[in-house]
């Protein structure tokens, strides 16, 4: 029983990592209606920028916001420069461009910062959280920040003009255009915001898993899984999905004999696929009605 509780708590801690990334996945889905395979690499790149700023002596409270701002600008520019010209190309073409971006970022990071692991300091005080050795202050802080970002996103999409415009542009581009929304600008803004959230995720994750160019390779996968499980249209669902993936993965690794440890990722993924078969829009997602 004690081990069970420990693994659940550890699952929440790792789930926080996935939840963070899942939020960024939901954000980009909101803007472009598919998954961006380069998103993990972009987040890692942002984290490297933060790390470089810290290494150059910029204090914490300046380095993090600066990295987030730069990431926002970077995401915005990538949409304008790379995706604007191929706006009307098929979706598969876009996916291949994501793969290309993945290669570009990954290889550039290796070239600039090399592949050895780097420790990124945590913004939170070191040590265990409230006396529990299972979850550190940093992990608790990460969960808290994820919650804050979640609330901010919700407020943004529900109450601000621009948030509502973005939703309208994503849900129905033609009608949105008719009421005067600059749809393509909204897409670029979505890219910027997804990159900014990715930067937050990267900077929170790096102190736990260590920073290196391949840091997000598998975390993005878990982020996808969490987001899809919870529902790609629901930020709250994505966060919950992230935690579920973390917990399920840990329990499968601990309790399923022989194959559990070797297949924990596989088991988590297959559970998700099973959930999707019965609830195709994810746990909290809206089912999109297909119009003919």
């Amino acid at each position: 029983m004690e081990l069970f509780l420990q693994q659940v708590i550890a699952g929440v801690a790792t789930g926080g990592i996935y939840a963070c990334m899942a939020l960024s996945v939901v954000m980009i889905y909101q803007a472009i209606h598919h998954l961006n395979f380069a998103q993990g690499e972009m987040a890692t790149f942002s984290t490297f920028i933060a790390w470089s700023l810290l290494a150059a002596g910029v204090p914490f409270l300046a380095a993090f916001p600066l990295a987030i701002l730069l990431s926002f600008a970077g995401g915005f520019v990538i949409e304008r420069v790379i995706f604007k010209p191929i706006e009307n190309a098929p979706v598969l073409t876009h996916i291949v461009v994501f793969i290309a971006l993945f290669g570009i970022f990954n290889s550039a990071m290796g070239y600039i910062w090399d592949f050895s692991i780097k420790s990124v300091p945590s913004p939170f005080p070191q040590g265990p959280f409230m006396g529990s050795t299972l979850i550190s202050n940093h992990q608790a802080g990460m969960v808290a920040i994820t919650a804050v970002v979640l609330v901010m996103l919700w407020a943004f999409f529900s109450f601000t003009r621009i948030g509502l415009a973005m939703r309208a542009a994503a849900a129905n581009p033609e009608s949105a255009r008719l009421v005067g929304i600059r749809v393509s600008m909204m897409t670029a803004l979505g890219w910027g915001m997804a990159s900014a959230i990715g930067a937050v995720a990267g900077m929170l994750i790096a102190p736990i898993v260590f920073l290196e160019p391949n840091m997000m390779l598998s975390i993005l996968l878990y982020g996808f899984a969490g987001a899809v499980l919870g529902g790609l249209t629901s930020p709250l669902g994505a966060v919950i999905g992230g935690f579920i993936v973390g917990i399920v993965e840990n329990l499968a690794g601990t309790y399923i004999p022989v194959i559990g440890g070797e297949l924990k990722l596989t088991i988590a993924l297959f559970l998700i696929v099973a959930v999707l078969v019965f609830k195709p829009a994810g746990l909290l997602g809206r089912r999109i009605v297909q119009r003919v």
Binding site: G110, S119, P128, T133, N214, N250, G253, E262
Partner: protein, 401 residues
């Protein structure tokens, strides 16, 4: 359209008209140069190891600037396989059949070298000093053209097993291992070394390279009540495991495999305080270790790095590894003299006597013979004191030598 296809056909026909000539014994050697191939992961998940190939490249550049070996310069051709075995096969065939190299040196990785193991031996091309510690490279009877370099993993694991039996007879052992060829090689060697005492293993946790963290495994190992921890992990996961064990206040006698003992790129990120008390066996000087700061071999290496590889990482054991491996190759070529046939290169590689290459631990030398294809076999136990590795005990040689 039709034009390009015809053009392609013409180029293919003209460029490759030569056909496939039977492999000759002297290949890739002229009076002025010798061609050496290598395959490294310069891209993909194992790219950190790419530094080894880079260092070797710079090392040969330095040799060439000094006039080469026996009057021949070294034409070093290193390709990237991204750590994907099918690409390794492609690159090896390119080196052997298209570039016509004399030999392939320091190809990196266990699955990747496995993919070309038979090919190299069927073609009778020297496959020298592979950069992996799997035990299968030292098998001259079946694979007379392949030779390892570093001490092999099972030998190392047996040293820990023996230490545990001698000093911690009541140990309850937990093992964390990477679920691949490398991890299993250590694991099996360790169990073999323990013999009957293998029943003292209370927890055996695999992890995949794709796992984001090993936190869950570390928690399970602590819960198993183990007081000895054998950590078979690559650098990133080693750092995670060391850090996590410290965070959850689990303080077993912690044995760390040699793969991840770099102070600069593993223990510093993991936390020096958390790393205190780690035990490992080493065969290389750690470049950041103050006790070797003034060692002439280290001084020479730093000079080389400053002059030829200024972008290189001087805290990384990979650059030191590349430097030492390169010196081994240079020695074999020098010893081969003017007869650079593949047979003679192989013969000389299997005939190294008490060769000292730089940056190995004091007292360690390289020895090979036609029946001994394991160049480095001696290692020494060392313990981390929070700042550097402290050697203890005697040099331990493998039983086979």
């Amino acid at each position: 359209m039709t034009f390009t296809r015809t053009a392609l056909a013409t180029t293919a026909a003209a460029a490759l008209m030569a056909g496939a000539a039977a492999a000759q014994t002297v290949v890739g050697v002229t009076d002025a140069s010798i061609k050496i191939g290598s395959i490294n992961p310069y891209s993909g998940p194992a790219s950190a190891y790419g530094q080894i190939g880079e260092t070797i490249d710079k090392c040969f550049e330095m040799v060439n600037a000094g006039g080469g070996i026996n009057g021949r310069t070294i034409d070093f051709i290193a390709y990237d396989d991204g750590y994907q075995p099918p690409r390794t096969v492609e690159q090896a065939r390119k080196l052997v059949e298209s570039d016509k190299v004399a030999l392939i040196f320091q190809a990196l990785g266990t699955p990747t070298n496995s993919a070309i193991h038979r090919y190299m031996n069927a073609r009778k091309v020297p496959h020298l000093f592979v950069a992996t510690g799997a035990s299968k490279w030292g098998d001259p009877e079946n694979y007379p053209w392949t030779m390892g370099w570093q001490p092999n993993y099972p030998t190392e694991a047996k040293i820990y097993a023996k230490y545990i039996q001698d000093n911690l007879p009541d140990a309850k052992i937990a093992i964390l291992y990477q679920n691949d060829d490398y991890g299993k090689d250590y694991l099996n060697g360790f169990k073999e070394g323990l013999g009957d005492a293998a029943s003292q293993i209370v927890s055996e946790m695999p992890y995949e390279v794709a796992d984001p963290t090993v936190d869950s495994q570390v928690i399970s190992m602590k819960a198993s009540g183990a007081d000895v921890f054998f950590n078979i992990t690559t650098p990133k996961f080693a750092a995670q495991a060391i850090k996590k064990a410290h965070e959850i206040d689990w303080n077993p006698t912690h044995f760390l495999n040699n793969v991840s003992i770099s102070v600069g790129s593993v223990l510093k990120p993991a936390g020096l305080e958390a790393s205190k008390g780690l035990i490992t066996v080493g065969y290389q000087m750690d470049p950041t270790d103050p006790q070797f700061a003034d060692h002439p071999e280290r001084v020479e290496w730093v000079e080389f790095m400053n002059e030829w590889y200024p972008d290189g990482d001087q805290t990384s054991s990979f650059t030191a590894y590349g430097w030492a491996a390169c010196q081994t190759m240079i020695h074999v070529l020098e010893q081969s003299g003017d007869d650079l046939s593949r047979e003679n290169i192989m013969e000389q590689a299997a005939n190294i006597r008490n060769l000292r290459v730089p940056m190995l631990l004091p007292g360690i030398t390289i020895n090979t013979s036609p029946t001994d294809f394991n160049p480095i076999e001696s290692m020494q136990l060392q313990r981390f004191n929070g700042e550097s590795w402290e050697l203890f005990g005697d040099l331990i040689g493998a039983e086979s030598s």
